[in-house]
Amino acid sequence: MANLVKSKRIGIIASISVCILAFLAYSFNGRNNENKQFYYWSPELELSKSDFMRTEPMFKLNSYSAEIVMRYSYEKDHSGKYKVTPVVDRYKSFMRTGHYSEEILSHEKYHANICSYIANKMNKILIDTIFNSEREFFNFLDYYKVKTRELFDKYDMETNHGRNLEMQKYWEHKIDSLLMN
């Protein structure tokens, strides 16, 4: 009997605790929306320190000073045509404390601009394309995500993550020219 009372008591305490936690989590979620996770990127915009909201990794000592995470957002209009826009994921982007510099910010900005270039390229194809299924569109998107990754890797390798200033300038010029076309 004593055990039954004890387990009932534990059950009641656990239920109340879970309810309180759920309520607080709900309230916290609402408050958290003030800091938006995503925003649409365009080459005219500038990145700032506040775009790197993620806490830096403490145990990856040899990783980079900063990392910007980009995604592709898409929408479908009434005629069944898709449009892709690059977005900055602020919650997944980090910058190491004390590593802030204009050069790093510029390097990361051109990562975002590469996404703009790929998105423009995709949109040019998407204007004349109607997909039979959503799956077909996702395959198309996946293909360009791989292309973006490859371009990111090439950009990082050639500029040595922005440390090689000459190559950085060359890439900036190259990406700007690609965006103009």
């Binding site: 656990a14 605790s17 309180i20 936690l21 806490t55 830096e56 403490m58 602020r90």
Partner: protein
Amino acid sequence: MRYIKTFSTREITTCLFSAIMIMALFSFFFTFLFDTLSYTLRIIYVTISLLIPIAVSHRLYLLEHKRPNSLLGRLINNAILSFFLIIFSIIFMKITNSFYMFGYYSNAVFFVLLLVYASEILLSIINSLFKLLKWRIW
């Protein structure tokens, strides 16, 4: 060794409720108090909300076993508490889409272990002060 010999589900449930208590106090802090409190008050609140549940768990051990917990027992107790706390905090952060505050799982593990064991050291100091006054609270 006596801790291991007498180890039962009671120890686990005590750690579980201490972890829930810490989570409740922390989530209350981040939801309602973070913007209103000054920096000093935030540190005081965080310290107290860590110290009280851990002290309560030690106090419950004393009441249940009629003897205070040993050093090894407290270390294991805190490891179990940290385990629950890591899981709860990660779930809470994931649900509320605020995991960017931890950034990485390794950061979460490190932060929680650091906070729990630092609180334990602080509690030991407080306990030795109580011992001077011949008080045995936990």
